[in-house]
Amino acid sequence: MSTTDQVAEAPALGWGERLRKFGLMLVSPRGAVYLLLIVLLILITVLNPRFAEPDQLMRFIQRVAPIAIVAIGQYFVIVAGEFDLSMGSLVTAQVIIAGNLVGQDDSRSIPVLLLMIGFGLLVGLANGLLTTMLKVPSFIVTLGMMLALLGGVLFWTGGAATGNPADGFRQIGRGGIRDLPLIDFLPWAVVVLVVLLALAIWFSKRPFGRTFIAVGDNVAAAHYSGIRVWWTKTAAFMISSTSATIAGVLLVGYAGVHPSVGRGYEFIAITAVVLGGVVLGGGRGSVVAAVAGAFALESLFTLLNFAGVPSTSRDAIQGVIIIAAVAYAAATFGRRRRRPARPTSPAGEEQAPSPVPAVPAPTPATGDTPQQGGL
C-alpha cells in the first residue's frame, strides 16, 4: 500500500523541483560521483579545449555508451543484491555471433539481431534461475557462465578474429545522423543510450522496478510483503544480459569483431556502479549515478591519454584513482546511511530522490540489520 503512495507521488514532482533536487544532491556527499565526473571533464577540457566542442563530446558519449549500458544492466543486478560477472563475456560472445552469422550479408541483420537478443535473454534466465532456484550464489553462477561463454567463444573461433560483419549491421554502433546544427553529428549509440537510460529511470520508478531495491535491501521483508523474489532477481539478470547484448551490438559497430572486445566489462561495470554509490549487496543506489560512474571511469581513461601518462604506469594510476573515488563515495554514503531514521519527511526524500524509500516504514529498521554486519 505504501508502495502505491510513493508511485503516485513521484510523477507529481515538477521538472523545476527535480532540477533543484539534482543541484542539492550534487553538493551533498551523495553527489560524489557527479562531482568526480565534473572535475574530470574540467581537467580534460583544460588539457585539451577541443574536447568541449559539441562534436567531440558526442563522440565521447558514443564511445562510453556501451560501457554505460552495461552499467545500467549491472545496476539492476547489484541493487537486487546479486552480481553479474558474465556480462563481459556475453558481450564478447554476442560480438562473435554477429561477426560470424551476419557475415557480408545485410539481409541477415534482423534475424541475427533477434537471435542475439534471444540468446542474451536465455543467458540471463539461466543465471537467474540457477541463482534463485538452486540457491547457488550469483557470484559463482555468473563466474561459471563467464567461463562457459568464453570457452564457447574460444572453441568457436580458436581465439582469433573472424572478420567484421556487413557495414549495415555496424551502422548502429558506428554511424549516426550527420550535418545537424550545433552538434554536427548525433551517433546512434547516443540515441540508444539516452533511450535506455530513460527507460531504466522510468522502470525503476514503477512498482515492479521498486521491488528490485526492496529485494536487495531485505529479502525476507520483500518476501513477506508478497514480492516474488525469484522472479525479481531473474528479471534483474535478464535485464543485465539484455543490456550486455545491446552493448555488444554497439561494439560490433564501433570497434569490430575481436575476441578481446568486452573483456573486463563486468568489472568496469561493477566499478562504475559502485562509484555511483550503489551499495554492493543491494538495496541502495540510483541508476543515473551508475551511468555517471561509467562516464567518470571513461573520462579518467581519456584524461590519462590527454595528460600523456606513460603507457606502463597508466593502469596503476587509474587503479589508485578508482580506489580513492570508491572509498570516498563509500565513506560519505556510509555516513549518510547511518542516520536514516531522523529525516522522515521531505528532508529524507531530498537526499534520496531515487526510489530508495520504496517501503518507507521498514527501510530504516531493516536497513540497519545488514549494515552492522556489512559495513
Partner: protein, 399 residues
C-alpha cells in the same frame, strides 16, 4: 559514539586518498616525456640490432621459391648421429593458438604434416597446446619426455627464460630437439628456427615511416602487450630510430582490442594531428584506420602486418602503407627440419628464415594470391603447394 568516530575516520581517510590522487595526477601532467627512455635501455640490444639490420640485406641461401627452406648466414651442423630409417613420431609442445598468426601457422603445419606422413617420414605428430602458460608447457614437455614415446621434440616456447630448463631436459634425452619462433637461452637444440627478428621489423617499419613523414610529425604506436621479447624488440628498434629522426612517437598498449584502439586514436586525434600509425602486430589495424575515417581526417602513413584484413583495408583506402612480416611460413620448417635430421642431412644451427615486408608495389600480387582467404589469414603463410590449398585456409579449419 563509536560510530561517529568511525565515520569521521572513514571520511578523513577517504579525503586523504583523494588528495593523494590529486598529487599522483599532477606530476604526470607535467612530465610525460621523460620516461620512454627506460624501456629502451631494458630491451634494446645494440649487437642484436646490428646483426638483424645486416641480415635484412642478405640474399638467403636455399631453394628458390621455397622461403621456408631458405636460410641466412647459416652455420651448418652435422646430424648424422640422428640418421635413422622409418617413419618417426614427432611431439609438438605448442605455446598456444590464441592469435590469428599462430592459427594460420598451425593450419599450415598440419598440412605439411600430411605431406610428410604420405612420404613415410613422420608417422604421427602428438601435440600439446599450453594455452599461453609456461607451467602448462613445462608439464607438456615433461610428459613428452616421460611417456610420449617421441622420436623428435618440436617446441614453440611460450617464453624465453621460463622454458629453458624444460628444453634442456628434452635435449638430455639424446633425441633431436627443434625449437622455433620464440627462442630459449640454450643452444642444446639441434636447430633453432626463426625469421630474422623483432629488431629487423622495427627497422623496416620505422625507416618506412621516417621516409614518408616530416621531422616533428607524430606517430602513434599501438602495441599489443608489454614484456614479450619479440614484440618489445620491434618497438625498441622503432623507438630508437624515431627518436633519432625527430619523429614524435607515443606508445599505447591495446591488448589488440579494437574498441581500445579506437578510443586511443580518437583521443590522439582530439589532441592534435596524427601523421603516422605504427603497430607491433597487425591485429586491430582495421579499427585504427576506421578511427581516422570516423573522425573525418586524412589517412595516416601506416605500418600493420601481412594479415589480410589490413592488406585489404590498405588497398581499399589507398593509404601509404607497409606490411612488415613475421614470416608465418616458419611453421612449415620444423617438421621439414625433422625429416632432414633423420635423413642425416646437415641443418643450420640457427636457422634464420627470410623476413621481408610487403610493400605497395607487391600488395596487389599478395592480394590476388590470397583471394578468398579470411581476414585473419597471413599473406606470407607459404603453403600454396600443400595439398589442402586453398580450401583449408579459406575455411580456416583449425585442426
Amino acid at each position: 559514539m563509536r560510530r561517529g568516530i568511525r565515520t569521521a575516520a572513514g571520511v578523513v581517510g577517504a579525503a586523504a586518498l583523494l588528495v593523494l590522487t590529486a598529487c599522483t595526477t599532477d606530476p604526470s601532467v607535467t612530465t610525460p616525456s621523460d620516461d620512454p627512455g627506460e624501456s629502451e635501455v631494458e630491451w634494446f640490444d645494440q649487437a642484436l640490432f646490428d646483426k638483424q639490420d645486416a641480415e635484412r640485406g642478405v640474399v638467403p641461401e636455399g631453394p628458390e621459391g621455397q622461403p621456408y627452406l631458405q636460410h641466412i648466414n647459416a652455420e651448418m651442423v652435422d646430424t648424422s648421429e640422428y640418421a635413422s630409417e622409418g617413419a618417426k613420431k614427432a611431439c609438438f609442445a605448442n605455446a598456444s593458438i590464441s592469435n590469428p598468426w599462430r592459427q594460420t601457422g598451425w593450419i599450415t603445419m598440419n598440412e605439411q604434416l600430411k605431406v610428410l606422413q604420405a612420404d613415410g617420414a613422420i608417422s604421427e605428430m602428438e601435440t600439446r597446446d599450453a594455452g599461453d602458460s609456461d607451467d602448462t608447457q613445462t608439464a607438456d614437455i615433461d610428459y613428452f619426455i616421460e611417456e610420449g614415446n617421441c622420436d623428435v621434440f618440436i617446441i614453440s616456447p611460450n617464453s624465453t627464460a621460463a622454458m629453458t630448463p624444460a628444453v634442456e631436459r628434452a635435449c638430455a634425452t639424446g633425441k633431436p630437439v627443434v625449437v622455433f619462433d620464440r627462442g630459449v637461452q640454450t643452444d642444446c637444440p639441434v636447430t633453432f628456427i626463426h625469421p630474422i627478428g623483432g629488431f629487423a621489423w622495427g627497422i623496416d617499419t620505422a625507416e618506412f615511416l621516417i621516409d614518408n613523414l616530416e621531422e616533428g610529425d607524430k606517430v602513434v604506436a599501438l602495441r599489443i602487450l608489454p614484456g614479450v621479447d619479440v614484440l618489445e624488440q620491434r618497438w625498441a628498434a622503432a623507438e630508437k630510430l624515431f627518436d633519432e629522426a625527430g619523429i614524435e612517437a607515443v606508445d599505447y598498449f591495446t591488448g589488440a582490442d579494437p574498441a581500445e584502439i579506437k578510443k586511443i586514436i580518437s583521443d590522439e586525434l582530439a589532441k592534435g594531428d596524427v601523421q603516422g600509425i605504427w603497430m607491433d602486430a597487425g591485429d586491430g589495424a582495421v579499427a585504427a584506420i576506421e578511427a581516422f575515417e570516423d573522425a573525418g581526417v586524412d589517412y595516416p602513413v601506416m605500418t600493420g602486418e601481412d594479415e589480410l584484413s589490413f592488406l585489404r583495408k590498405w588497398k581499399e583506402t589507398g593509404l601509404t602503407g607497409l606490411a612488415p612480416v613475421y614470416s608465418n611460413f616458419q611453421w612449415r620448417t620444423p617438421l621439414l627440419a625433422a625429416q632432414m635430421i633423420f635423413a642425416g642431412t646437415e641443418v643450420p644451427q640457427e636457422w634464420v628464415l627470410p623476413q621481408s615486408p610487403i610493400t605497395s608495389s607487391d600488395l596487389d600480387e599478395y592480394l590476388a594470391a590470397n583471394d578468398g582467404m579470411p581476414g585473419g589469414h597471413y599473406a606470407k603463410f607459404g603453403g600454396e603447394d600443400l595439398p589442402g590449398y586453398p580450401t583449408v585456409w579459406q575455411e580456416r579449419i583449425i585442426p
